[in-house]
Every structure is written in structure tokens, then in C-alpha cells.
């Protein structure tokens, strides 16, 4: 049996009585690439929030490499090797692209370790590696605020990958990208999948198709189906929740 990296066990998250996630269980194998889809409000982003500790579940447990992380502070969860890219690009506007990556790949994250000028050779090498991974070599000295939208998305992917986390959580990494940028991003993510375990949320079916990975469909805070894209496309129930069509469509004319 393959080793489980992430094990979400019966998690329920409630916002003032509204259950965004209900008794959800999900396991992610080490080294796998997994796509999460589902209609708006299905609980996709909330699930990622719960894994990284931004939101605390009322019941259930999130286990990472066999250890419960449900009650750990966020920054400790991050240092265990779980890193998330947010939906809106979360780059550090006031720093240059190079500095952004450097902040992300520093090993010592404590205050005392931060009183240092410059960067270690290994860190500089890592930053150069990330610059070429994200295709931002030409813009290393530019303020992150001045990057185009798609470039910001790539920069943030670079930052998330920087510290070599085992588990990457990517929340709509292609939001706002052109078709070509989306294709490049898919390639980038597939390249990462061997080294890291990747969990991707996206709405864009063309992108999901390019990823060519097992899919989990969430609906109303629960796992609705799991399978590959072809199976799910043939599943009437999935099409119904996704497209909001009634099951019987005798009068459909289009």
C-alpha cells in the first residue's frame, strides 16, 4: 500500500452554523498529483484553509505523515512542508522578484536567524533555479508589484515551491491567465508533481484536462465522486451539480 502523505479524517468546518465542510475524508498519496473540482461553495478553498491551519475544524482531524496538525500554529504547519498558493496572487509587492524568492527559500525562519546580510551561496543558487523554473530570469530585479498578473501567479508558485515542501496546495493557479499561460502552467505543475505531492483546485476544464490526473469532486462540503476526467464527464450526477442542469432535460434545445 502506498504511503499516505495527507489524511483528512471526518473534518467538519462551520462558519457561524453554516457547515462549509461536512464530515469530509480525503487521503493523498505521497508523490501524487490530485485535482479538486466542484461548484462554487463546495468547500474547496475551505479544505485548503483547514489543511494549512487558517481555519480550524469543529471536529475531525488532519494528519500529515501520521502526525496530527489540526492544532498547530500556521507557521509551524508551513515549516513541516505544506505550502499553499492563494487564489489571488499573494506576492510581496514591496520586494523585488529575487527578494521574494529569497524570503521564501530561507531555511532559518526565526527572528535571530534573520539578522544577516546577503544570502548563502546555496540560497542564491536555489533562487536562480527558481527564476529559471518560473521563467522570470529577466525580471529578477523588478519590484513584484510591477509584474503582470500571470507573472505574479508564476512568482507565487515559485515561492511556494522554494522551500521544497512535500505537499503543495495550489488554489486556482491559472486564474486570470491566457490560454497559452495556462498551458505553460500545466506543464510547470506536471514537472513539479514527481518531486512534490500536489493538490490543485481549478475551475478551468481545459487546464484540468492538461493536468491529466485523478480528480476529486466536492459538493456541499463533501466528497461527491472520485475518478478520472472521462469517467466524471460521463457521470450525469456530476454534470448536474456542476452545470446546474436538471437530470431530465427533455426540452433542451441547444
Amino acid at each position: 500500500m502506498p504511503e499516505m502523505l495527507l489524511d483528512v479524517q471526518g473534518v467538519t468546518v462551520s462558519f457561524d452554523g453554516f457547515k462549509a465542510i461536512q464530515n469530509l475524508s480525503l487521503t493523498v498519496e505521497k508523490g501524487s498529483l490530485r485535482v479538486l473540482i466542484g461548484p462554487n461553495g463546495a468547500g474547496k478553498s475551505t479544505l485548503l484553509d483547514t489543511i494549512i491551519g487558517k481555519v480550524r475544524p469543529v471536529s475531525g482531524d488532519v494528519r500529515y505523515l501520521g502526525q496530527s496538525i489540526t492544532r498547530l500554529p500556521e507557521y509551524k504547519i508551513a515549516t513541516l512542508g505544506i505550502c499553499r498558493k492563494f487564489q489571488a496572487p499573494g506576492v510581496l509587492d514591496g520586494l523585488s522578484v529575487r527578494e521574494n524568492l529569497l524570503v521564501a527559500c530561507k531555511r532559518g525562519k526565526g527572528v535571530l536567524a534573520s539578522f544577516k546580510l546577503g544570502a548563502a551561496a546555496s540560497e542564491r543558487a536555489r533562487v536562480d533555479e527558481l527564476l529559471s523554473l518560473t521563467g522570470l530570469q529577466g525580471k529578477a530585479g523588478m519590484l513584484a508589484a510591477l509584474l503582470a498578473h500571470g507573472e505574479k501567479q508564476w512568482l507565487e508558485i515559485g515561492m511556494v515551491v522554494a522551500a521544497d515542501p512535500q505537499l503543495l496546495l495550489l488554489d486556482e493557479p491559472t486564474a486570470g491567465m491566457t490560454a497559452q499561460e495556462t498551458a505553460q502552467t500545466a506543464e510547470l505543475i506536471r514537472a513539479l508533481a514527481g518531486k512534490h505531492t500536489v493538490l490543485v483546485i481549478d475551475h478551468d476544464m481545459a487546464f484540468v484536462e492538461l493536468l491529466d490526473a485523478p480528480i476529486t469532486v466536492l459538493h456541499q462540503g463533501q466528497v461527491f465522486r472520485e475518478g478520472d476526467l472521462a469517467t466524471l464527464r460521463a457521470d450525469a450526477d456530476v454534470m448536474e451539480i456542476y452545470l446546474g442542469r436538471p437530470k431530465e432535460t427533455p426540452h433542451a434545445q441547444a
Binding site: 500554529p73 505550502c83 510581496l92 524570503v103 527572528v111 544577516k116 546580510l117 510591477l146
Partner: protein, 355 residues
């Protein structure tokens, strides 16, 4: 303005300050020395607000702690052995309160000038940032704290001399403060300490610590989920801001020969922030320059037209908020930032042309 012009300008200003005692009159020199002492607090605000994005409206609290720590020592030095400071006698205090006793020692007092403000700032920051209090709430809390401190000072006549403040100093480290050449010496010492604080802070902001502080201001969540604990960084920055305020307060007390609650209250704390905002909060030179020039202007304007002063200051603050969010320093750097923007625009245009 490019970098070399900036360096030349700073060099000229530094030389003018170093040789000021040779060409300035007694009044002007005292005024300048006092303002230089005050500008050390501006360095702290630059770190805390300009870089860390934490707007404290209570820096007077830490300024006061530094000032009072030194004033207590100076008061004991001016009091004959075995006697009580004059204000305690007037208020019927019979024995020296316990927390006054160690201030007989100059090293202890000097240590307290550094430790008290830094520890108080660190503690306040720990209570606030651990609970993730941010933004305007931090401003309100710090303002309330300085108000509470001033109220306590005013009410504790016998312990702190109340509204009169502590005054009548004579000797410090064996030097007679009323001596002839003391003004010059004190000016140079102040300038030296200001220079050291500036250099050390500039160096600190160039380390990884400075980058993380800017990062936290931009996007605290992103930094947190990269594995940093933002609260720890904010606490460190706030404690440093408190420390610099305390040093400033102690020097200011030496220059003025007195410290009282009226000098460190809410108005004072807000004024500090206004000058830093005017000069440019994210630039060390901007913050310090803004405070120095602002206070020199205040001296001129308020002696010419005492009633107009508050309106002038209020007007300037409104101007900064509306027109110059990065202050005068931001205006000088404006061109450098602008130059990179057209290239982005051009790219956009090319794309639309193709389309």
C-alpha cells in the same frame, strides 16, 4: 534624484551638522541639539511604521520611560546624600520609594534608559500581535496607553513630581551640566549617537530582517504561510522602536534639563508621527530630515504666530495624506520608480496592437 546626488546631499548635511557649533549661536545650537535628540525617535517610527506598517500613536510612552529613567538619576545626583528630592519633601513622602533607590547608580540608570522602553514596547507588542491586533486598533491602544501613563504621572505627585515634572539637574557622570562648554559637548554627543543609531538601523534594514518586515507590511498572510511567525518579527521591530524612542527621550531630557508629562503626551506622540509622515516614513533620511526640519520650522512659526501653529501642522498633515503618501522622500524617489512603468505599458500596447 539619483543615488550619487543623494549621497552628496547627505554628506553636505552631515558636515554642516558636525561643524554647527563653530558657526551657530548659543540659542540656535541648543535648539538644533534638542531637535537632533528628538530625531532618534523618528528612526524608531521609520522602522515600526514605515517598514513594519504598524502605526503607533504612543511613542511618547517609551520616550517618557527613557527620559524619566535618566531624570530620576539626575534628580538624585542633585540631592544631598541622605536627603529626599525636594518634591517628595513637599508632598510629605518620608522615605525614598523602592523603585527610586537603584537609580543612584549611573550605570543602572543608563541601562534602564535602554531596557525599560524596549521591554515595555516588547511586552505591549507581545500582547497585541500575539492576538493579531492590527491597523487602527494598534493606534488606538498605543494612544490610550500613553494617555494612561501621563495620567498616572500627573496623579502621582509624591512619586514622580506630577505635572511639574522632574527638574533642577546639576551633575551627570561627574560633569557639571551648567558648565560653559557643556552645550557643545552635549551637541556632539547627541550627533554621534544619532549617527550611530542611523547607521545601525540602516544596516539592520538591509539584512533579511528588513526584507521580512517589508514583506509583512505587504502581505502578512503570505509570510505566515511561508513558515515565518510574523508576530515575532513585529514584536522585535516594536521593541526596537521603543528602544530608540527611549534613547531619544533620555537625550532630550539632558538637553532641556527637565522632563514632565506635558512633554510626552498624546499631542507629542502624534506630532512625531506627522513629521515622519511629512519627511517620508519608509526612508530613514526622510523620517529624520522631516522631524528635524519640521521642528525647526515649528520654532520659527510658533514664535512668530503662536496661534497659527496647530493649523499649519494640521494643514501639512492633510496635505501629506492626500498628495504625498510617501512624504517628501517619496517625491524625490518618484522619478526612479516612474522610469520602469512605461516599459510595462508598452508591452500592454503591443499586445492590444496584435489583437
Amino acid at each position: 534624484m539619483n543615488r550619487s546626488a543623494q549621497t552628496v546631499l547627505i554628506g553636505v548635511a552631515a558636515l554642516a551638522l558636525i561643524f554647527a557649533p563653530l558657526y551657530l549661536g548659543a540659542y540656535s545650537l541648543t535648539l538644533l541639539g534638542r531637535v537632533l535628540a528628538l530625531s532618534i525617535a523618528a528612526i524608531g517610527i521609520c522602522v515600526v511604521w514605515g517598514r513594519g506598517g504598524i502605526l503607533s500613536l504612543g511613542q511618547g510612552l517609551f520616550f517618557g520611560l527613557g527620559g524619566y529613567a535618566l531624570a530620576m538619576h539626575l534628580k538624585l545626583m542633585a540631592t544631598a546624600k541622605g536627603e529626599l528630592p525636594d518634591f517628595m519633601v513637599y508632598n510629605g513622602v518620608e522615605a525614598l520609594p523602592w523603585f527610586w533607590k537603584p537609580f543612584v547608580s549611573a550605570p543602572f540608570a543608563l541601562l534602564m534608559v535602554l531596557i525599560l522602553p524596549a521591554a515595555a514596547a516588547g511586552l505591549i507588542a507581545w500582547l497585541m500581535f500575539r492576538r493579531r491586533i492590527t491597523g487602527v486598533y494598534v493606534s488606538i491602544i498605543t494612544q490610550a496607553l500613553v494617555l494612561a501613563f501621563v495620567t498616572w504621572l500627573n496623579g502621582s505627585q509624591g512619586l514622580t513630581s506630577g505635572t511639574n515634572g522632574i527638574t533642577d539637574f546639576q551633575m551627570f557622570l561627574g560633569i557639571n551640566l551648567r558648565g560653559e562648554s557643556v552645550a557643545r559637548g552635549l551637541y556632539w554627543v547627541t550627533l554621534l549617537i544619532l549617527g550611530l543609531c542611523l547607521a545601525a538601523t540602516a544596516l539592520l534594514l538591509r539584512t533579511h530582517f528588513g526584507a521580512i518586515l517589508t514583506a509583512i507590511k505587504d502581505n502578512e498572510n503570505r509570510v505566515r504561510f511561508l513558515g515565518y511567525n510574523p508576530a515575532a518579527y513585529k514584536i522585535a521591530a516594536f521593541a526596537l522602536g521603543g528602544l530608540l524612542s527611549g534613547v531619544s527621550g533620555a537625550l532630550y531630557t539632558l538637553h532641556l534639563g527637565t522632563i514632565s508629562p506635558a512633554m510626552i503626551g498624546v499631542t507629542f506622540s502624534i506630532e512625531l508621527v506627522v513629521w515622519v509622515a511629512l519627511g517620508g516614513r519608509s526612508s530613514l533620511i526622510g523620517a529624520v530630515g522631516g522631524l528635524i526640519l519640521g521642528n525647526l520650522a515649528k520654532d520659527k512659526i510658533s514664535s512668530a504666530a503662536p496661534d497659527a501653529w496647530l493649523y499649519v501642522m494640521g494643514g501639512l498633515f492633510v496635505l501629506v495624506v492626500l498628495v504625498l503618501p510617501q512624504g517628501v522622500a517619496g517625491l524625490l524617489n518618484h522619478r526612479r520608480v516612474r522610469r520602469t512603468v512605461p516599459s510595462v505599458r508598452r508591452e500592454v500596447k503591443e499586445v492590444t496592437d496584435i489583437a
